[in-house]
Symmetry: D3
Subunit: 164 residues, 6 copies
């Protein structure tokens, strides 16, 4: 097992995938943002009425996913076939879970696109609420599931999948 | 206390800061990426010899911070005066702590730039190592300290600051 | 009167504004998108319940305004202090009026930023609804008002201003 | 008939097209910019001699079309196979008609790319001439024709097509 | 003398310039593209009549200069006050000299912006002509002059300045 | 032989490649940056220990190659399958040779991507060292080899290829 993003001289490269086959691929990532209960109440209130933090954050997450190869140096630029983001609000823990699901048919996976979607969504929630809460924490960003590609099916252990 | 990123109709806006004074500002953010011990060993090995994951990730984090206003919809575009990123490797926990420090003289803070720098750095570490470890988790991204601006000094409680 | 964006050889340039003073500036632009009545009904319905076309389009318009100097070749890159977008729905004409208001303190005006915000907002409405209506027309994009700068106050004649 | 850019929860998404076939597609869009006769005379004069407003605007429109998926949140990023832009100057009406034609072989259409090309071209004409004319109006941006894809051939009624 | 773009741990950073004064700055860069005589004849012919390679390349160079901080990792993003590009055609050597002049008032110089403008202009000439000439060489990209800033006036030795 | 990037009216366009077949393609480009011997010594020193100029420049070159179609107006956006960059240090000439190799399977070549990778890498070396050496010159950027596509194999004469 080795880090494929380095060439024989130990220098970073984008691995050549010219000879790989295109296959249907999907990745689902998850992350969580924790906040004060008052902050969560504001978000829920805005969602019910107007001033919807989650709606803005979702657009940001989708647009962020399309920027993945601009942000991550050794990431191939790919054609994204679909992006979906969903939220689960946990009032007891004062947390919002963010789920991002990305599809493509291509030579490389879309794990980074899904993880980037979750990260940008969470950062946007932080930005929209930071005037009232600077103690928010973005946590537990991880890959839940990956389908397609040579490395096969990946399913994170001990995680109840709740796809976006 | 209200969410300032919405106008009187409940629609998202970029708050007008035309009449605010420019002041010197600084923000320090932190995040952590947890991985298998073999993965951390590979990173440490590359750092000592060649194929340095952290070096690539740091460049990505710095460039990502400069893209903050492109990623976060209601974020003002600003002139960043300085960005510094540093790492602390914790071999016992199999974790790398990422610290980002951002400076500007401007009308708005640089919290989002510091948080974005941490996030993109962590995502790049994930990307560089995902061929050998898909179980990595990015966690505890938060603001450690904020200096300057009308809202004054912010220092996260219970966090030993270790500036980048 | 001449086109200032050309140099003495007739070649395009970005005019040097190094010696100009920074002043507070504002621009308000307007545009309209006309559609079938069924399309407008869908948009209004989504706005009331969920699936809000205008919310997505507004985020796009704000982010688009921040990209103005990337899109318009001879446009100076500037620091935008504020962006606000608003809509007026005209059920009799089956039209939505889009208003964008942009503020800065700088050496150049923000007319192009306001016009770009309106354009990108309208294009996004088109995109969100094109599955049910390809006959939509984007029309009458113009500058309503401009405040600040050497050329002084501009107010479009015969237009009832209704600021966003 | 429904708005496909929303998921079952009413949240915006990029529709998954992984299972769609790639087909050859083409879209032609049109728009018009109206101005004072003196402004049009300046543009024609520059085109004949030097300082060509339309040449700069055309480059901007082509580059803008390549940015479509960055500007329009729910737009798939695609590989554009060709972009052509053309102008028709109407001296009687003091107007310039802008035509953009975009080709691809892909899973989604290129209507938004053609409409974006027209919009950015028109905005650039505005920018290049705004020092002498702030009364310009960008109008009647619409899709003229669309070829390829499941929804089939679209031809705007009552419009004499004059392809770029 | 040391490389300022590294921190005390030897890691790359963007140097903090928060405490530096803003001053008027200017940089002039030059580069040359050499080609077959037939290629140069095509360019001259197009410039006289239509199909102007240099006009497109100039727009590209100006837009490229505005992307400098996106391309060069440790470069501060700045407000560019003016960009001008000019060409000198040398028929005896079958070369085109490219001159780029950039102005700002800021805390950092604009050398990289001028050098990037020259580079992107040259690359675009290459792209526009590569169908007929793949032997072109881009050469001698250098800083001619730099005005303003703490390091003072820089004038390249043995170079006859011919400002764009 | 004619310049294909212009339409029948002499206006710039992106050539329509919808009917071309996708083939495996590769391009190798080279460029050189010359500097003072003290500057080269600093780079070599940093590479051995820490503060590695070439490592940062290589990341920049790879990311720059992915931006080619944003920089070069008439360049098709493509899916890059692989990018590799390598350096040869020539202590006698005080020069660093930069080699970039780019792969794709597509309808158009990757010459511009390889040339852009070299250019951005060289510009970044300049930026990282300009505090100690403003006399650096970037020179002899050229295409070494091109494989695949209708125009066939291209090999630059009189150049000893040393692929990155």
């Amino acid at each position: 097992m080795k880090l494929t993003h380095f060439n024989q001289f130990g220098r970073a490269r984008i691995v050549n995938v010219s000879e790989k086959e295109k296959t249907a691929r999907k990745a689902i990532a998850k992350g969580t943002i924790k906040m004060h209960s008052e902050t969560l109440a504001k978000i829920i209130d805005g969602h019910m009425k107007k001033g919807d933090v989650l709606s803005v954050s979702q657009v940001a997450g989708i647009m962020g996913a399309k920027k993945t190869s601009e942000l991550i140096p050794m990431c191939h630029n790919i054609l994204i076939d679909g992006i979906d983001i969903d939220f689960e609000i946990n009032k007891e823990k004062n947390e919002i879970d963010i789920f991002a699901s990305v599809n493509t048919v291509g030579k490389t996976g879309v794990e980074m696109e899904a993880l980037t979607a979750v990260s940008v969504t969470a950062l946007t929630i932080y930005d929209m609420c930071k005037a009232i809460d600077k103690d928010m924490v973005i946590k537990d960003i991880c890959l839940l599931e990956k389908i397609g590609g040579k490395s096969g099916h990946y399913l994170k252990k001990d995680v109840k999948i709740n796809e976006g």
